[in-house]
């Protein structure tokens, strides 16, 4: 984090301080963005008893990826300029730009995803031909906690770009990019399977990793690890995250 006011330095502060050197972008609050994550205390999730572990004083707080302001550095400025020329309502489409660890992330409003992805793929000055990866992240605690993350590659210019679309659990709809990038087919199915993000327009959005009759979306942060109580010789073994305090 870039300043102590943004995120108080915790007891074990060394990695946070080195983060200040990594983080080069200017900090400003992105629009409609609530902090990611939930506040946690201690290491082992023990509650209701005295702290014998010595880790009870540790606090992990929600965080916000800081929005970058131009100039972004590297090829990012040229990319953003070309994208702005090709797409007139870029200001509405891109809710936040993050430059972190030498990577450019565009947070996209979902109504604009297809239009922006089409331009990114087709525009001669951009040419992101390859949709390398589609996956999800669940930022439990923020309003739009489910993020659909796209890693695009421009083979022509040898550039990379990350798109992020955030939706809520109540309305987890994101337009499918399979028509633009057929390779996103299985990856969107996987993200639906594990996170419950519904990709509108996907040709066959079914589970791919979990069995077809599975309940729930296992990669969500409120879904326990294991989660299946095992019964053995009459005794019930709770799921792993309840056996020990893996929190």
């Amino acid at each position: 984090m870039s300043s102590p006011t943004e995120r108080p330095v915790s007891a074990d502060s060394a990695p946070e301080q080195s983060a200040a050197e990594i983080q080069k972008s200017t900090v400003s609050e992105g629009p409609n963005d609530s902090p990611y994550g939930v506040e946690r205390h201690g290491m082992f999730g023990v509650a209701g008893s005295g702290d014998t572990s010595g880790y009870g004083g540790l606090v992990r707080e929600p965080w916000v990826p800081p929005a970058a302001t131009p100039p972004y550095g590297s090829y990012f400025d040229e990319l953003m300029a070309n994208l702005g020329t090709a797409y007139s309502s870029l200001a509405q489409g891109v809710t936040k730009v993050v430059v972190d660890r030498g990577e450019l992330t565009l947070h996209i409003a979902r109504e604009h995803l297809i239009a922006i992805a089409t331009i990114l793929r087709n525009d001669p000055s951009l040419r992101f031909e390859l949709c390398s990866s589609v996956s999800g992240v669940d930022y439990l605690g923020s309003t739009n906690r489910l993020h659909s993350v796209y890693q695009l590659v421009s083979m022509t210019y040898r550039r990379r770009l990350r798109l992020e679309v955030a939706v809520s659990v109540e309305d987890p709809h994101v337009p499918s990019v399979t028509a633009l990038y057929p390779g996103a087919d299985w990856q969107e199915r996987e993200t639906y399977d594990l996170f419950g993000i519904i990709y509108d327009g996907h040709p066959a959005l079914t589970r791919i990793q979990m069995p077809d009759d599975w309940d729930g979306h296992p990669q969500r942060k409120d879904y326990p690890l294991g989660g299946i109580p095992v019964q053995y010789k009459g005794a019930t073994i709770p799921p792993p995250d309840e056996r020990r305090a893996y929190k």
Binding site: P15, I22, W63, L130, S132, S135, V137, V149, Y181, W186
Partner: protein
């Protein structure tokens, strides 16, 4: 006795309820039922292949729709080896996660470990020492050979070339011997870790690897003599399972498949990492886009990997193999004993007998782990199967918030239908073998 008319799953009524026979019924009866009165006019047949089938590379399941011998539709079903590796990493420390991820694509463990470790290092803002980086390159290139040997062995076996299998596995065994000498394990090494590698190379590594290189050259020449000019091998592979550059890019297919279609896209050259730009090697390509081209490209890649291994050996100089930061580096000073990898005796004696502070430090770093500043990175390396990417998110804690592997096996398998439809059912086997999927990586 069958008493229903379902051609694909005959069933009968028993006292326990209806029992379905999934092994299929009598072939003639089935054909008669499917085709109606005239089996000659209607030959559509849905064939389930796998997930337990010797030629589907582990637990891949194919559902093929056949018109005689011709494939008219192909569906690929995956997920039979989903083990929740990505979810599990969220409940372990940053270092422990390596132990899970190395098991994802079990034929290329060093690539899994390295791509994850490089991602974590970028999140931390550190860089592994030069010697550790060279050793990572060394292990990855030896691993590329061992992985390609398994591709050749299993692919050859599936097409009936059993000598390719025995030779391939024999050569792969020699690669595993090198791994065992260096890491103590033949598979699932957890050798590359955030900050560097677990331990330095053992004595005598140089001679062992150089004689291994000689052996590999002999084995590769043997492959050339055995397969390259062989009529059956050529006829089974040429003009089979075609997919072009446009198809590859649209489907996200990378690696040898893309290079066999004609695009020299290799992340070691296009987005160099770990100093690959300083090594002298070629990116083999071919323009056939068929199974034959993939065979040619992969074998040529093995020759190139040997060149890189030799260059690494020439360059290796003594130095640290872990970052000089006691807040991150694993404290245990691992050493390789006759019973495998473990804490070095000197280290145990130090923390148990003489230094209380070392004991506390060891305990804290091993149980709690180190913290990684919040943020996300996407790190990619060129694995034997294509672009292996790690999308790693940290929330500032001692455990990964999210780790996603962009697995080339998973994404390349999407090309199965394109390669198979319109071809013969026997060519499906050749096509799947040429993709070289590893289901452990595909399903994670």
């Amino acid at each position: 006795m069958t008493d229903t008319t379902d051609a694909y799953a005959p069933s009968r009524q028993t006292t326990e309820g209806r029992v379905y026979n999934l092994t299929g019924g009598d072939w003639d009866e089935m054909l008669a039922q499917v085709a109606g009165a005239d089996p000659l006019t209607e030959e559509r047949l849905v064939l389930n292949m796998g997930p337990q089938h010797p030629s589907t590379h582990g637990v891949l399941r194919l559902v093929l729709e056949l018109e005689g011998e011709t494939v008219t539709d192909a569906r690929v079903v995956v997920g039979y080896l989903h083990t929740g590796i990505e979810k599990n990493t969220e409940y372990r420390t940053w270092t422990q996660a390596v132990t899970f991820l190395t098991r994802a694509d079990y034929l290329s463990p060093f690539f899994n470990e390295t791509v994850y470790s490089m991602g974590v290092e970028r999140l931390l803002g550190i860089e592994a020492p030069p010697r550790a980086q060279l050793i990572r390159v060394l292990m990855m290139e030896i691993n590329r050979l061992s992985s390609h040997w398994v591709w050749l062995a299993t692919g050859g076996m599936e097409l009936g070339a059993l000598t390719a299998m025995t030779n391939g596995f024999r050569a792969r065994e020699r690669c595993l011997d090198i791994f065992e000498m260096i890491t103590g394990l033949r598979m699932n090494h957890a050798y590359v870790r955030p900050g560097g590698i677990a331990q330095d190379l053992p004595d005598g590594y140089d001679d062992a690897i150089r004689s291994w290189i000689k052996e590999m050259r002999t084995e590769l020449t043997g492959v050339d003599k055995l397969l390259t000019g062989q009529t059956v091998w050529i006829n089974r592979l040429k003009n089979v399972g075609w997919i072009g550059v446009e198809g590859c890019i649209a489907l996200g297919i990378t690696g040898p498949l893309l290079r066999a279609a004609g695009l020299p896209w290799d992340l070691r050259k296009t987005e160099p990492y770990l100093g690959y730009e300083t090594f002298d090697f070629e990116v083999p390509t071919d323009d056939g886009g068929d199974c034959w081209s993939r065979f040619v490209v992969r074998v040529a890649e093995m020759w190139e990997s040997l060149k890189i291994v030799e260059q690494v050996l020439d360059r290796l100089e003594p130095g640290p193999t872990m970052v000089d930061d006691p807040k991150i580096a694993w404290p245990a000073k691992l050493s390789l004993g006759p019973d495998g990898l473990g804490n070095s005796l000197a280290h145990v004696q130090k923390i148990m007998n003489s230094s209380m502070e070392s004991l506390i430090h060891h305990f804290k770093l091993v149980t709690e782990g180190f913290r990684v500043p919040p943020g996300q990175v996407y790190q990619a390396v060129e694995s034997p199967r294509g672009e292996l990417g790690a999308h790693i998110v940290s929330d500032g804690g001692t455990r990964p918030y999210r780790v996603h592997f962009r697995e080339p096996s998973f994404i390349n398998l999407q090309g199965t239908a394109t390669m198979s439809i319109g071809g013969m059912v026997a060519d499906v086997i050749a096509s799947v073998a040429s993709i070289d999927p590893v289901m452990g990586g595909c399903d994670r």
